[in-house]
Symmetry: D2
Subunit: 278 residues, 4 copies
């Protein structure tokens, strides 16, 4: 057992937590090199979100698109598990941060992951086009691959509650305008619409783009990697999660269950029976 070279222990500790996001010294905070005191009042929240996750500040019109997409997905009401969980948690004697955590935690592959998956799907289509495939056959091949791997639910298209998701059209219009202005390419809006058309042809009925499909278009247009589509959705939805926790706190209640207490869940297990002798 030779002694470890002591001068390295401190460096090892520092490097274990190395980051290129934030530089800290007593009295100094810089994000990606920008001193915080120069940013406050000049850099918007949406720009900061971009800087933190991407490394550089966006153009103002890029930031406006990001701002819009964050705004559009804040809430889908108490039937969304995340929102119900936030409200129930609030009545259990935990802090708002805890209620938010229990709720954000369930924004998983099924509840919060559709945006991420849709970005991946769009990227798969562009990769095929870039490799020489025609647009429509690229879409068909990407959809076939996706279905083979993940089943028939295509992320970003169709909604079990809304025949037409009212959020998709205005989001797409923002992208179209941004593309006309040269802020984004418009490529992913086009691909998403081709997917919509291909699905209609396949199924014989419209499976319209939903919020996840539309926000994924914007995230892809703005160059966000797919996993960040999920991460940013978590930030967006945390607004609704907070608002409902707060409303529930004002309504009061203790240990609020999912349904009123007098409606006892159906039991379909074995009838009463004696514990066998040891």
């Amino acid at each position: 057992m030779t002694e470890k070279p002591k001068p390295d222990a401190e460096q090892a500790m520092r490097d274990w937590w190395r980051t290129s996001i934030i530089e800290m010294k007593p009295g100094v905070i810089r994000y990606r090199g920008y001193p915080i005191e120069d940013m406050i009042g000049r850099v918007s929240f949406a720009q900061m979100i971009w800087l933190m996750t991407r490394g550089e500040l966006p153009e103002p019109r890029e930031a406006a698109l990001l701002d819009a997409v964050l705004m559009s997905a804040v809430d889908h009401g108490p039937q969304a598990p995340s929102i119900a969980i936030s409200r129930m948690a609030t009545t259990c004697g935990v802090g708002l941060n805890n209620a938010m955590a229990s709720a954000i935690n369930v924004l998983g592959d099924v509840h919060g992951g559709a945006g991420e998956q849709a970005v991946e799907l769009y990227h798969d289509v562009t990769k095929r086009i870039d490799a020489g495939s025609g647009e429509e056959s690229a879409v068909d091949a990407a959809l076939a691959d996706f279905t083979a791997q993940h089943g028939k639910i295509i992320p970003g298209f169709g909604h079990r509650f809304h025949p037409i998701d009212p959020r998709a059209k205005p989001l797409l219009e923002l992208v179209d305008r941004a593309a006309a202005d040269g802020v984004v390419s418009g490529r992913f809006a086009r691909i998403a619409r081709l997917i919509e058309a291909a699905l209609e042809k396949q199924k014989g009925r419209r499976i319209p783009m939903n919020i996840d499909g539309a926000t994924a278009v914007i995230y892809a247009e703005l160059g966000f990697p797919a996993p960040l589509a999920r991460g940013l959705f978590c930030i967006s939805r945390s607004v609704g999660i907070l608002a409902h926790a707060w409303e529930q706190m004002q309504q009061g209640g203790r240990n609020k269950g999912p349904i009123p207490r007098q409606y006892i869940p159906t039991y379909d297990g074995p009838p009463q029976r004696p514990v066998p002798a040891a």
Copy 2:
């Protein structure tokens, strides 16, 4: 700026995470000094829980009481927010560990804290008795103090669903038997019954001891500090949380909300209105 003394950096790092619970070296794991290879098959799960939280191994009959109390509180059905959250989370595309975490997280002051509060209440009574107060006046004073600080819900007594909680009596019987055998003193069982009697006198009707009141008796008899009553309840309830997550996983479902989708929550906010011009 003088340089920090380098030789201390490694020690500082090690000491930052110092513990008297577990000793680790390559090939070596000892809990409180006991080598794990000597424990496996000889030390029970309940004994291990005791050792980890208390520092020493319990007597077998103490371990049996702890085992019984952990067994008694595993589940209270899908109307408990923790259980509903576990089931809903499971349908959102997260792992069992995540579903369990979102659920355990809500075992807060209101949902999971009654056992802890009941232990504190019992300790308050004993402190008053030890200071010379008579038993009944100690109980009355402790209840009056508690009510003044926390309101009229006395932790461990009364149940909003069960007129009589079927778990309290058999748990108390275990304590009585253990007290008769000299395993515990029986002091806290006596205090809990005095509280029950005092409450009946005050309210003019029975407010019978519930699961939290009875488990708190056992935790207090066994010498567990009050906060561990909550921590151990979390371990106990995590069994029901897991079982329901697993059952839900087999039932299937995606983004399971608290009520069937066709029953849209009542909206009682402002009617439709136009967004004001910017």
Copy 3:
């Protein structure tokens, strides 16, 4: 057992989840009465956060202040437990949403609650002034009360790492400008400065306002109830939490512990000992 009146069951279910935040029907989503399709591209993320938590849309200059305060608190580096947790969680095979949840969860009374407590402290001062007390004696009395109840750490003032928190001054300047423009009253900025002065007099050295004290001024000026200061901090900090999770994901690593693996934590428990015979 008389049968429950059936026609009420559906209403009971709907009312159990009643809300004035969001109105949902197939194809319809309205927040506080505003149709989402009219909001997208016209209402900013900061305005939406305000609408969701407060019930009405803010003036643009109010929204700008809220935007600035959200921007200012996104991150404090990997030595903050929340940030370290986010990075460690990411290496454990969970989703970004789960890493964010574990991290947001710890923004409790000590880590994330200072803003909420500072708002409460400011409100306590204003209440005393409104009841006829002079400003300085109101501040002294509020501080004395706070210290008596919670100990000597005054939320919002002093920082264990920064001799002067570089975020406080520019935030206060924003408030001063907004007060000069009549957007806010400036009352809470004045109170916070009085507290700073009182602390200096008491302690004989400056305990300068920190980020929590400054953001609390803005939340109070904008009329946010104290608990929302914590909730909004969670949204703000979730940006840093996401950025660090994402950076860690790109750095890679599996089961990243708090310090490099070769630096084994100090063990200070009992030495090796045999398991006693059963």
Copy 4:
């Protein structure tokens, strides 16, 4: 819009939360048909865990094996992210339940999933044997398949810290004894040893079975489906998580970061730069 048939609303609500785990009525709690008052003091915690997750009570010797496996995995010290998170969370002003939740939450695919994956691997081998393959070629094929899909880290074998994991051997001995007594078949212990031998042959050095490989043998022998191996690990590890949270609570500290405050993380991003003009 025809009105929904009212008599069904209550039933729909009850059925939405149907379960075969627990039957609840006022004054009545039955788990899988067994009245709780008959179970307390007669059914052990390990038996209860089995009943809740499997549907029927185990034989006492099966319960003893389950008890042993739960006991064996409670803790791996503060370098495990779950344990460090629990300790850090405790210093942030959240409850023990919240600290436990943040920690259990990270027992994901990498940190807590190896047992589940090992059970799946063993099942894959048995499926191949049952389909007529020889034992060794079944093992080789299963390993080749696993590596192709998931990479070269074989769950349950090898340990980055322990050259030999001291927990594996005593756990395997328990299985051998149980197999000799006819409690379990011993089939999965045999398969696990064949995997160990195959890995040694492949790599030219021993990759010894670790805790996850050994506990997976027991879970498989006892008939637990693979996902429950992860769920039960969460229950086991939550003991260590609680013990460390409690120890940290007694050590004190506020906002405990991963390393002492004076060791500032290395910053490797852009140097200081001015915020560009808007």
